[in-house]
Symmetry: C2
Subunit: 428 residues, 2 copies
């Protein structure tokens, strides 16, 4: 596997160089990764990326080629240090699929300054991307109200971001992805229909459909909107018979077209044939189709771009040095010093009430309805996470459970405040 150590901002390594020179490199530090706020109007965020980060951490090594490229950047002593670099600290964090709110300490990295500072860019890249996608995806899953969603946005984003987006979408409840690498790497079920090119390649639509059914079976999904949708559905049922798996409609007034398609399919005896809609769907469009006879949705652009919030706005901040709380003080970007932990308070009914962020080491757990949120992920550089990094099923289940506990207003798609407030307790 390729190394990940150069996926890093230059200043991290020059800070290491200066810190090795002045002796501060070994100071014991705590960095926290968190979002100061949610994207505008969003009610909650979904943690995603933890598994990817831990996997990337194991590949965070500077190769000989990497070091050669860094020769103009840092001094020889620093190159030597980088050559031997292995992260030997600890990491704690919210598990994937957990919700987060403003200030939630989603990830805590402890170790020497030099050990921990070099992970800043990689950790932020992974969390800012994956949390943005998972958070948008979760809203789409809610909007779909139980109908399956197919992730098909690979072509609208960077080719490797596409694989991570498919993973984040699946984690958030999508049923399948079109991305084959996501299937191979993460075990996500893949799905696909056919493109308009398939119909255009053939002499006519009936020939294209007959060929697709011959090769892929009657359970396949035929794309019926290349020419005229009504004739397309006729051709589709003629090709596959009333046992046709599904038809896909990718353009036009999707709600109206779905109704017409359902009527037509039923009249042709294809009462079990499903209707798949795609074409610039986002969570609002999905919600607006709730009353229509739709069986599943294909979502592309809006998913991989975080539906208006393509980055989660997470930051990675030094909060403690040799046990001393530290924080920036000059502006609105102020942060809270000192290592923190968090718990979520619930009503006896199970509804979440607040996110409580408190000084690490204090214990404000007040009763059986408080749940501490972070878990140990890495100890002395070794991954110790409870569940396998690849266990997306557990993350899906965790998110499902967490969303059930959100106050109902928090699940609305409309803009508003975070679903629960964050309370910051200070040291006593």
């Amino acid at each position: 596997m390729t190394g990940t150590a150069l996926l890093t901002d230059r200043y991290e390594l020059t800070m290491v160089a200066a810190a090795l020179a002045d002796g501060t490199a070994e100071r014991h530090c705590v960095f926290e990764l968190f979002a100061r706020r949610l994207p505008d109007g969003r009610r909650y965020g979904v943690v995603a990326g933890t598994g990817r980060l831990l996997e990337a951490l194991e590949r965070f090594r500077f190769s000989a080629d990497d070091l050669a490229s860094l020769a103009p950047v840092v001094d020889p002593a620093t190159l030597d240090w980088l050559r031997d670099y292995r992260f030997t600290g600890d990491v704690d964090g919210y598990p994937e699929g957990e919700l987060y709110f403003p200030g939630s300490p989603v990830l805590t990295v402890t170790g020497s300054f030099a050990d921990a500072v070099v992970l800043e860019t990689l950790a932020l890249s992974i969390f800012n991307h994956d949390c943005a996608i998972a958070s948008a995806a979760a809203r789409m899953v809610t909007a779909a109200a139980g109908r399956p969603l197919i992730e098909m946005g690979s072509r609208r984003t960077h080719e490797e971001a596409a694989v991570a987006a498919a993973r984040a979408a699946y984690l958030a409840g999508f049923a399948t992805t079109s991305n084959l690498a996501a299937g191979a790497r993460h075990g996500i079920p893949t799905a696909g229909t056919a493109a308009h090119a398939w119909v255009l390649l053939h002499d006519d639509e009936p020939a294209a459909f007959a060929s697709q059914v011959a090769a892929l079976g009657t359970g396949t999904t035929l794309l019926v909107d290349t020419y005229d949708i009504r004739r397309g559905i006729d051709h589709a049922v003629a090709a596959a018979g009333p046992g046709l798996g599904a038809v896909r409609i990718d353009s036009g007034d999707l709600g109206e077209l779905a109704r017409q398609a359902r009527d037509q399919l039923d009249s042709l005896g294809a009462t079990g044939t499903r209707i798949v809609l795609s074409g610039d769907l986002d969570e609002y469009a999905i919600a607006s189709l709730r009353a229509e006879p739709v069986d599943s949705y294909g979502v592309g652009t809006s998913l991989v771009t975080g539906s208006g919030a393509p980055t989660a706005g997470m930051v990675y901040k030094l909060v403690e040095v040799d046990g001393r709380p530290v924080s920036k003080r000059s502006s609105a970007k102020e942060s809270r010093g000192g290592r923190k932990a968090a718990l979520r308070r619930f009503k006896p009914t199970g509804t979440a009430v607040e996110e409580v962020v408190y000084p690490y080491g204090s214990d404000p757990v007040a009763g059986p309805h408080d749940r501490v949120l972070a878990v140990p992920l890495v100890r002395d550089g070794k991954v110790v996470a409870d569940e396998p990094l690849t266990d997306l099923q557990a993350a899906r289940e965790r998110l499902r459970t967490a969303l059930v506990a959100v106050p109902w207003e928090g699940l609305k798609l409309s803009r508003g405040e975070p679903a629960i407030p964050t309370t910051f307790l200070t040291g006593s």
Copy 2:
């Protein structure tokens, strides 16, 4: 290097399977990659990604592991075909750094259906990402009016998208990037300052600055807004002397702070010390700082998210089969059949007038001020591009020249129509 063949949507391979079965796999096809429209209000797009695509094409091979993962997806005959897959067709396209407009045939792929269809997702992923970033970056470069821009958005996007974003930004005229992998892979100059963590790590700001100067020299950039900016600048000049390279301010009212910093630096004799501003800058914020004493800008989030347009909206459409023009006809997503070429018309003064898209093989060149836009990139599967894939300098120069030719209204940041209209000529 890792293979790229699985960065593909499942339906491309199932279409190949069906086409191999029915004999259409060998039909000679032309696919065109283009944008139906520019992002809302944008005046032009910048072509970026061509070099990355050609490099990815050489790694588009199905490994044994890839094929094993595809066993549940396609039949054994198709697996055999994939095992031997090498692209053997032709590719033509606009060179990197060229402008594009709605309908510009940015990339043309010709070959058998099976050869060409499997490249759809990878080609779109690369162009939709890289063009989105380069197009946003070019506006920022224009807004900066000659002041250098530092790309520092890696942490706000997927870790590999970050490297591509740094490349696209440099291609569009950014001076440097913070991303070390972009430096190592693409030869882009890297730059860096220090984080607030650097100051917080130390016992006080003077100690932090003294250490940074000792390790990195007086030419370094000191981050002065961790506590109080005025005192920070005092500490900075005390640490480095009046020969200090630069100070960075990352928060607050940047214009006001830049003026105060300039006055203070000058009064301390540090008249040559540069002022670097960062902190949620986009092209509008950069433009608004034009009258202020700023020496360079660090741009992060807005760059890597395409400043509101994170994807370029490119599509990859089959337009010709065995010499027969084909096109979808059902809806607003209609496209124009037949292989096309394009030229740009200029006034004798050098100002661009229109983008002319015409049937390939016809010759509407009307005079010395018409410039044909596409160049050969691949012939019979072999890269034949005129310039090395890594020649970002040529792309920078090409874009600079192309932007000079844009009518002046087209360089305004405000929303509007494309800078020049696209005229579609039909076959005679």
